[in-house]
Structures are given as structure tokens and as C-alpha cells.
């Protein structure tokens, strides 16, 4: 039987090679026929999940919540000290200096990353801006979100903070951060699907062992290490996410 590992489509493509190496390492250590299959957008990824084609996933928090509650996935690990935070940025010459300066009919450039957009909308609430007041310009990735701002096609952009920090200095200098969330407890999750439930302990141990044996590889996928995630910790994050969805 072949098993499929995938990544939330919000992953940074500069880590692509690292993930292929990690897949190979896991395959050898576990003795499992593991195949890395990637999706360019969330709808294709969700379709594969719904079709039962995914066995291991490095999921964003919103998808992690859905997989835990609805698809019988089991938490394995999460990245150490790497919470998902959202940045709202504007063009550097924007008249906006704080959230309350934004007005309805706001043009927002964003990817289709669900929790980043959800947190972004929450951060706009103090300006009395609801999702109905936002005209979204959907972009395939965060570089295109930045370009939409620089080209004057959007008034504000939602970014995954880690990705914003990785934009080139030339791009970042043409943008200005209005607010960065400080939630600390929402992060990606590595989850195992129903066909691998019996191997969760082995998968977890293999990933945790990489903290000592493969620090270079972990750097190649943008994490400093893995931390075991127990069921209650994952449930707590899902409960927290649930409070954020009205």
C-alpha cells in the first residue's frame, strides 16, 4: 500500500527541496512507501483529503482543526516556537497609521490561507470592518500580495508573518506593517490519517529524532525542531480556533 504525505498549500516554495528530503528520510526510517504529493491551491488539497487520498499532512491550523474534528486524523508533532501570526501591511506611503484608520470598502490583497485571513479579519474588527466591507483580491502567494500593494491595487494586505519576514528587503521597504498578531498558540500541525493511526508513535519518534540528527534538514524546511503534540493540546487549539469563527 502506498501512503501520501502532503503539505498545506501555504508552504513556502523555497523549502520544497527540504520537504522532498524529509519525505525520503521518513520513508527509510519507517519502512513505509511514502510519496510526497503537493497541491498548488487549497481546493485541490481539500478535494484530495475528502477523497481519502492523504495519510500524512503538515497542515495549517484551520485545516488541522477540520482534520482532527471531522476526518479522524491524529496529531503527531508541531514545529517548535513557530506560531502562525498574521501581519496587516499597507503601501509605505499609505495614510493609514493604525487599524482604526481603515474604512469600509477596504481593498485587501490576500492568499486563500484560511486562518491568516480569519485572523486578519479579526484584527480589522476594531475599525468596524466586517468581512462584508472587504473587497478581496485573491493572490496565489504572498509575493503577489506584496505586489498588489506596491501597484496600488489594494489598500491592505494579509500576510503570514514568517513569510513577510522572508520577503526581499526591496519589497519590504515599500510596505509598512500596521499590526502583527501576538496569539502565540496557533500553529501548523503534523497529522496522521486513519490508515496510519497504528504507526503514529513511530512517526512521532522518527520526527522528534530529527531534532538531534537532522538540524540542517529541519532548517531546510524552515523549522528549528519538532515538539510532540498530544491530543488535548491539539483539541485546545481547535477549541480556540472555534471561538474565532462566528
Amino acid at each position: 500500500m502506498k501512503y501520501t504525505l502532503t503539505l498545506s498549500p501555504d508552504f513556502n516554495t523555497k523549502y520544497l527541496a527540504g520537504w522532498f528530503v524529509l519525505n525520503t528520510r521518513l520513508q527509510k526510517q519507517l519502512g513505509l512507501p511514502l510519496h510526497l504529493d503537493l497541491f498548488t491551491d487549497f481546493s485541490a488539497c481539500h478535494a484530495a483529503i475528502d477523497a481519502g487520498k492523504i495519510d500524512l499532512i503538515y497542515a495549517n491550523p484551520a485545516d488541522g482543526a477540520m482534520l482532527l474534528r471531522e476526518k479522524q486524523f491524529v496529531p503527531v508533532v508541531h514545529p517548535r516556537m513557530r506560531p502562525d501570526e498574521t501581519i496587516i501591511a499597507v503601501p509605505v506611503d499609505s495614510p493609514v497609521n493604525r487599524i482604526e484608520d481603515f474604512r469600509p470598502d477596504l481593498r485587501v490583497a490576500a492568499t486563500d490561507d484560511p486562518e491568516i485571513n480569519m485572523i486578519g479579519q479579526i484584527l480589522l474588527e476594531p475599525a468596524d470592518i466586517t468581512p462584508a466591507d472587504i473587497q478581496y483580491q485573491r493572490c496565489e502567494n504572498y509575493v503577489l500580495v506584496a505586489k498588489a500593494l506596491m501597484n496600488g491595487q489594494a489598500d491592505a494586505g494579509f500576510f503570514l508573518a514568517e513569510t513577510f519576514a522572508e520577503l526581499s528587503p526591496t519589497i519590504r521597504n515599500r510596505l509598512r506593517v500596521i499590526l502583527k498578531s501576538q496569539i502565540h498558540v496557533i500553529h501548523h500541525l503534523f497529522l496522521a490519517g486513519p490508515r496510519l493511526t497504528n504507526q503514529v508513535d513511530e512517526i512521532r519518534q522518527a520526527l522528534l529524532a530529527m531534532n538531534d540528527t537532522e538540524p540542517g534538514l529541519l532548517k531546510e524546511i524552515g523549522v528549528t525542531g519538532w515538539q510532540a503534540t498530544d491530543a488535548e493540546e491539539a483539541e485546545f487549539m481547535v477549541d480556540l480556533m472555534d471561538t474565532l469563527v462566528d
Binding site: 468596524d128 501576538q182 477549541d239 472555534d242 471561538t243
Partner: protein
């Protein structure tokens, strides 16, 4: 809460009676503490409302230490400007396993206050409510003004009914 907690500010004395019959004297000032930008205040209680977890934003905003919060009823943050009916609605909703959200004026240990938009969800494990998670976020000033006026009229109604 004692007068010493007010740190020299002038405060008005109120007696609060909670749903379990507990009575407590509190002092309130007119100082509002702004909600911390970009943060969420997170806490967890057991099914009877006793705080079991408080994040740093909650500790900072409440003015209490974590040790003073954990093990206490969540109602120690209750501000005398909040009508009882608001909390009855909260408990009626979450005890049925449903999500509740609303605007709340909270009382700090030092008598000052802060407004939040609060959401409370029941934590259901194996079909049973084992705890509640509450997340508070920054509300808009327009909403605060609307809710302050509504709560004032509800409170007057409640006080009128008691007389």
C-alpha cells in the same frame, strides 16, 4: 479587592451578589485600560466557572497574578456596570453545548476596566462538556458605545425590579 488595590485613585464602592449567592465588595474607577493590540485574551474554566488556565494577556489585563486567577471563579472580573441578564444568557447558552459571544465590560483588580468582545465555547470530549474556553478580542468603539447604553438600561431595569 481592597481600597489599597486602587493605587491612590478614587473609586466608588459597590456590593456585587453573584449567581451562587456570594457577595463581594468592589471598588471601581473611571479609568479604561485599552485592549492590547493584536492579542487575544484566553482563559479556560471548569464546568462550574472556576479558572483553570489564563494566558499572559489575561493576566496582564486583569491586574491579578496568575496564581490569584487560577482556582478563582471567573466572576471576579465582573464589573458592576454589567447586567446580570448578560451572564444568564451566557450560561444558558454554553451549558446547552452552544457557542456564546457578546460584549463585556471587565473589572480589573485595580478598579479600572476594559471592554472585550468575548466568545465562549464548550470543550466537548467524548460527548461531555468538560470545560469552557473563552477568547476575548478587541471590539470597535462604536460597538462599545452601543453596548454601554444597552447595559445601562438593562441594569436600571434590574435595579428597579429589586426595589
Amino acid at each position: 479587592m481592597t481600597l489599597a488595590d486602587l493605587h491612590g485613585e478614587s473609586g466608588e464602592e459597590h456590593w456585587l451578589t453573584y449567581y451562587d449567592g456570594f457577595r463581594r465588595r468592589v471598588f471601581v474607577t473611571h479609568r479604561e485600560v485599552p485592549f492590547p493590540e493584536g492579542k487575544l485574551i484566553v482563559s479556560r474554566t471548569d464546568p462550574s466557572g472556576v479558572i483553570t488556565h489564563a494566558n499572559q494577556a489575561f493576566v496582564d489585563m486583569s491586574g491579578y497574578s496568575e496564581d490569584e486567577l487560577v482556582g478563582e471563579q471567573h466572576y471576579i472580573l465582573r464589573h458592576p456596570d454589567m447586567p446580570a441578564v448578560a451572564f444568564k444568557g451566557l450560561w444558558d447558552t454554553i451549558s446547552q453545548g452552544k457557542k456564546w459571544h457578546g460584549y463585556v465590560k471587565n473589572l480589573r483588580k485595580d478598579g479600572a476596566f476594559y471592554w472585550v468582545y468575548a466568545t465562549v465555547v464548550p470543550n466537548i470530549r467524548d460527548g461531555r462538556i468538560v470545560s469552557y474556553t473563552s477568547v476575548r478580542r478587541k471590539p470597535s468603539r462604536r460597538k462599545i458605545e452601543e453596548m454601554a447604553a444597552l447595559y445601562k438600561s438593562l441594569l436600571q431595569e434590574e435595579q428597579g425590579n429589586r426595589q
